[in-house]
């Protein structure tokens, strides 16, 4: 899902919401990601994952889900022209994400703070959320800081 690129930090308002499309991860890509970055049986082996007490089957690495959310945000072009980086993300995974489960990604502006030391930038705190389409259950939240050009 594409957005018109923002031109300035000052174009944003607290409470503003954005949609970043619907996504899903197939079994093969879940296993591929996990084999590089999160080597745990319940992310890498559908058979072994059946015995996982909390999951009972293969689930996506939480880092992988983060990547999909952030990939959707950066790929949308919204912050493309003004993003200068970021320095924190607090992530929660309230429920597991299984193969081929569609989840919708949205973002909301939580706070906007002009930088005290760098007048050319502002700090935008965003709350991103991934919600499973089938049942409305939240599978990930990410609260993060973007440094944006003014």
């Amino acid at each position: 899902m594409q957005h018109a690129p923002l031109r300035s930090f000052d174009d944003l308002t607290v409470g503003q919401e954005f949609a970043f499309g619907t996504h899903a991860l197939g079994e093969a890509e879940i296993i591929d990601y996990a084999s590089r970055f999160d080597r745990q049986p319940f992310h890498m082996d559908a058979e072994a994952a059946r015995a996982a007490p909390l999951f009972g089957g293969l689930v996506a690495s939480g880092l992988h889900t983060m990547g999909v959310v952030f990939g959707a945000v950066t790929g949308s072009g919204l912050f493309m022209a003004i993003s200068l980086g970021g320095n924190r993300i607090d992530t929660r995974w309230p429920a597991p994400l299984r193969p081929d489960e569609a989840f919708a990604v949205t973002g909301r502006v939580l706070a906007l703070k002009p930088s005290r030391t760098r007048p050319e930038l502002g700090i935008c705190t965003m709350l991103y959320e991934g919600v499973r389409v089938a049942d409305g259950v939240t599978v990930i939240t990410m609260e993060g800081a973007h440094f944006l050009r003014r």
Copy 2:
């Protein structure tokens, strides 16, 4: 760096520290990761990155650095036999990581709490840190919760 697998949550003590090896990311893998999960010029294009005000050159996606840290932890085998999953990670990137910069990964047990609802597991809060070898600067911290078998 391999560790002998822990046998139980109760084998851990608060303050205990673990080393997870020294790592680095090459330019090609930084760009490859970013092209999938973090499409920003300062992560994808060395030429364009020179103009990035806060970085002045190509830097690794913070999600990529997270993946290297978590890959080192899960790949070490330490929690392999008792990990049941996790539900949160709070990440900070105090300084950027550039191509081929070696960083050492360590972990420290911050807190240990038996589950009130599930006597078969405990919640272990770990603080992971990546420190650039050349100058001792911290490039990432990750505070996360592991659910571990007792």
